[in-house]
């Protein structure tokens, strides 16, 4: 670790931000078209973020501020761990479990900040968000566990490289189709897209955890959202779609998956929170267990 790594990391952060925010803007456009609207400009998302950041805001005490800082800091740190295609800010730090757990720092920070506002709606939102997390994360981790066992590596880039050796058919989504499906469903949950968006959807209780935020707090939360989307989608790209030998390859895969999920999201209704849990434990978890079982005990798809 030296200053170069940090600079590299900063660069990656910027790149990720620009890439993901642009993609969000584009997607808003795509979705609008789907709904026969014109939709905002593709850089509208940048405008939103910067506008929010520059506005005045209210605060409810130091936890409220500290939580936001911690949340964004944690998520940014996580984003630094994610290889951007072949690019890595810090070598050897893309361990999947590290990422999964560091990700939680951001979650915790945001939850803390929300509850710190003293608004019970925010707390309810947090409780839903956490419940949702308990639902989607376990099938996902289960599949990842299978992958790690299969390839004896828990490094994102390592796993991606192994897939690329087998060409298109080496992609995990094809080797382990069940796992792939589970991962996609879980990703939908992670991103808070329909049908699993009850904790954050604007139509639900006062926008959930975000209810008290405005100005720079909200702007930072927007940033946080972009970064977490980046992290989560990247995870899937690396784990199941062979990652990217080049930055471009990575960006293309990323964009396709993200758009696909967005489209899916827009045609689905919304689960209640307990329905989401039940669903995740009935279908994806079962599939994940079957997939892992197949990998571990039968060696299926492990080459």
């Amino acid at each position: 670790m030296n200053l170069v790594n940090f600079a590299y990391g900063l660069l990656l952060l910027l790149a990720a931000f620009v890439f993901q925010t642009t993609l969000t803007g584009i997607n808003r456009k795509v979705v609008a078209r789907l709904q026969r609207r014109r939709g905002p400009k593709f850089y509208q998302q940048f405008i939103d973020i910067f506008k929010a950041l520059s506005k005045g805001s209210t605060t409810h005490g130091w936890v409220f501020d500290f939580g936001v800082i911690m949340a964004l800091g944690g998520i940014m740190a996580t984003a630094i761990f994610i290889p951007f295609g072949p690019l890595k800010a810090v070598p050897g730090m893309d361990n999947i479990f590290i990422i999964a757990y560091v990700l939680a720092v951001g979650m915790l920070g945001m939850a803390m900040s929300a509850s710190g506002s003293g608004n019970p709606w925010a707390s309810i939102g947090v409780s839903r968000a956490l419940t949702n997390m308990l639902a989607y994360d376990i099938p996902f981790m289960m599949v990842v566990f299978g992958l790690i066992f299969a390839f004896d590596s828990s490094s994102l880039s390592g796993l991606a490289a192994i897939q690329r050796e087998g060409g298109l058919l080496g992609w995990n989504v094809l080797r382990f189709p069940l796992g792939g499906i589970v991962a996609m469903i879980s990703l939908q949950g992670m991103l808070g897209k329909k049908p699993f968006d009850s904790f954050i959807a604007p139509a639900e209780i006062a926008s959930g955890p975000m209810v008290e935020y405005g100005g720079r707090h909200l702007g930072m939360l927007f940033l946080l959202h972009e970064y977490s989307t980046f992290i989560e989608v990247s995870l899937i790209v690396h784990l199941f779609f062979g990652g990217g030998a080049t930055v471009l390859e990575f960006m293309v895969k990323y964009a396709v998956i993200y758009t696909f999920l967005n489209l899916v999201s827009n045609v689905l209704p919304r689960f209640k929170i307990d329905q989401a849990v039940t669903f995740f434990y009935k279908v994806p978890l079962a599939m994940a267990v079957v997939q892992t079982f197949l990998i571990i005990f039968l060696g299926m798809g492990v080459a």
């Binding site: 605060t59 936001v68 506002s117 566990f145």
Partner: protein, 608 residues
């Protein structure tokens, strides 16, 4: 020579603490601190004397690395908690006895960890059990003490049977030698292993022996809960370690059916550990009392520790050993934080509290760091240990344990967040408006624990070094480290880097925050209320049934408590039956039974 002095001194210290308490309660409480800190100092200084042997009365001791490590953890927890003792002296029924039993149980644990023969081990085991049994009822529940004692003694009696069996077979009680002949006899080894490990299971609180944990931890005196959860539970881990490492289970069960390379016997125990994780997590999520919640989290964490110990490998075992330490200090810190709250407010019920952060920020910080570590989030110590355990599980492909571990990890976010949100955050109740901040003596241990949690999360090298020694002593490959990087076969972890990147991200975030326009400070009640006008903070606080939608999913779960309660009731009924059948004021009843027995035995005798 250092260690025998420690053991003897602690017993004498217990008595002197009692006597000092007779003169002055506060002084007695400080005596517990002085003695336990002294023991800690001696332990740390005596590291070079590991391997020394000594005898006291008829008991024999040998200081092994693992014993030293465990006793260090234990003494640390005791020492830190003892700072709190003085604040409860005037509220306790038997303050002198409390101080006495406090140090007495500590002395017992030291003796236990240093024991070199099985009887000594058992003696101290029981000493700890009974001395702690009498502290628990000074808190909120008498039943807790009884349940605690019963479950503990089920375990210890099973172990006693095991000890006797081993002695019968091998003719020696020396721990290192007694199990040797068992390697040739897998069947007996299985029996010994199962009954021996039972004590460990009861103490760690593994399903189905977990029921005492929430009861006892949740209702023990506030100053004893940290010790119970952080310290005494680890005795079980020690027994589990002994049954796996010293037996040694993997060699003895070489010939038995294996699942993923794990002998069936151990696999079965791992399943129990996995169940404990899931169950502890689910139950913790629905608790309304902060102490009970942390107690259930101890059940879950006990599951991790057990699984790790049973693996006996390079990664999970190391993770488990480290988790033992991390959980000890984190759970102690969490309990201490709750104790501060209880000291100031007099309650530990989540729904009766709120907004404590505005009155005791340091306590909040302690709790925050503790739960981050408990949930295994970087950069705290708990992350490193959980990472090691999960990497080990992935290496072996133990998918069901891993499933439980994931569930426990994610679930822990849910339950640790709940007190955070409802006790420390949210609306401050008007009656708590004028609470004072935590006293200085309470701040000291909390700060120390916070620093330790963070330190071992960032720089675990020293700790893992000791664990490596333990692993070498147990005859397995030690965990590898290069610089600050932990090298696992299927992944690497550089904790310092994680911390630095985290700090970097935090810095950027902070810069962004500071660069932007300043915010206006508003009151807690000044929030978005969906156009309602609300003036009562009590009602404007989300605390009860925090995860209601999720809790609803398993509200009708089958309960081990009920099942065991039914068994206990059956015993009770049986007693009544015995009473009614054989005891009467009429001689005829007994004459009848006498005739029956006479007939039965003579008839049986005639048949032979």
């Amino acid at each position: 020579m250092t260690f025998d002095i420690v053991v003897i001194l602690m017993f004498l210290g217990a008595f002197s603490a009692y006597l000092i308490s007779k003169a002055s309660l506060k002084a007695g409480a400080y005596a517990t601190t002085v003695f336990s800190l002294g023991a800690l100092a001696v332990l740390l200084m005596g590291r070079s004397e590991i391997g020394s042997e000594f005898s006291v009365l008829f008991m024999n001791f040998e200081v092994t690395v693992i014993g030293w490590y465990f006793s260090g953890v234990m003494v640390l927890v005791y020492a830190m908690t003892s700072f709190f003792n003085s604040f409860w002296m005037d509220k306790m029924m038997y303050p002198g006895s409390y101080n006495f039993l406090y140090l007495f149980s500590l002395a017992g644990t030291l003796g236990l960890f240093f024991a070199s023969d099985l009887i000594t081990l058992f003696i101290f085991w029981e000493v700890v059990v009974w001395s702690s049994t009498f502290i628990i009822p000074m808190g909120k529940s008498r039943r807790a003490a009884v349940v605690y004692y019963t479950i503990s003694s089920i375990g210890s009696m099973a172990t006693l049977y095991g000890i006797m069996l081993v002695y019968r077979i091998s003719g020696t009680l020396v721990i290192q030698e007694a199990f040797v002949p068992l390697k040739e006899d897998p069947l007996t080894a299985t029996v010994v292993f199962v009954i021996f490990v039972m004590a460990g299971l009861t103490k760690i609180g593994i399903f189905p022996f977990h029921i005492w944990l929430p009861l006892a931890h949740g209702s023990a005196p506030h100053t004893f809960s940290p010790v119970l959860s952080g310290g005494l539970v680890k005795m079980g881990a020690f027994i589990a370690y002994m049954s796996v490492a010293i037996l040694p289970a993997y060699e003895a069960f070489e010939g038995s059916l294996k699942i993923m390379g794990i002998p069936l016997q151990l696999y079965f125990l791992m399943i129990l550990g996995a169940i404990s994780i899931v169950l502890g997590t689910l139950m913790a999520i629905k608790q309304e009392d902060a102490k009970k919640l942390i107690a259930y989290s101890s059940v879950a964490n006990g599951g991790y520790i057990l699984i790790g110990i049973l693996m006996m490998d390079q990664l999970s075992f190391a993770g488990s050993m480290m988790h033992l330490f991390n959980h000890a200090i984190a759970s102690a810190a969490a309990f201490l934080a709750i104790a501060v709250v209880a000291y100031r407010t007099g309650t530990t019920k989540i729904s009766e509290l709120g907004g404590m952060i505005h009155r005791m920020p340091l306590t909040y910080l302690t709790y925050l760091i503790a739960i981050i570590s408990l949930a295994g989030i970087p950069p705290m110590g708990g992350f490193v240990s959980k990472w090691l355990i999960i990497q080990g599980l992935a290496d072996r492909g133990l998918m069901f344990m891993a499933l439980a571990a994931f569930f426990g990890s994610i679930g822990s976010f849910l339950y640790v967040f709940r007190p955070l949100a409802a006790v420390f955050l949210g609306q401050l109740k008007p009656e708590h408006e004028h609470l004072k901040s935590e006293p200085l003596m309470m701040k000291i241990p909390m700060v120390i624990l916070m620093v330790l949690i963070l330190y071992f999360g960032v720089l675990p090298k020293w700790l893992l070094g000791i664990i490596g020694e333990i692993q070498v002593a147990a005859g397995i490959e030690p965990v590898m480290m290069s610089g600050n990087t932990i090298l696992a076969v299927n992944g690497v972890l550089n904790t310092l880097n994680v911390f630095m990147i985290f700090g970097f991200g935090f810095l950027i975030s902070l810069i962004i925050f500071l660069l932007m326009q300043k915010s206006r400070r508003v009151g807690l009640m000044d929030t978005y209320t969906s156009a309602e006008f609300i003036y009562t903070p009590e009602l404007y606080h989300y605390a009860g049934a925090f995860y209601a939608p999720f809790e609803r999913l398993y509200q009708n779960h089958p309960s081990v408590e009920k099942f065991l309660g039914a068994i206990a009731w059956k015993f009770h009924e049986l007693g009544t039956v015995v009473n009614a059948l054989f005891f009467s004021h009429k001689p005829a009843v007994t004459v009848f039974w006498t005739s029956v027995i006479l007939v039965m035995i003579t008839l049986g005798g005639a048949g032979i």
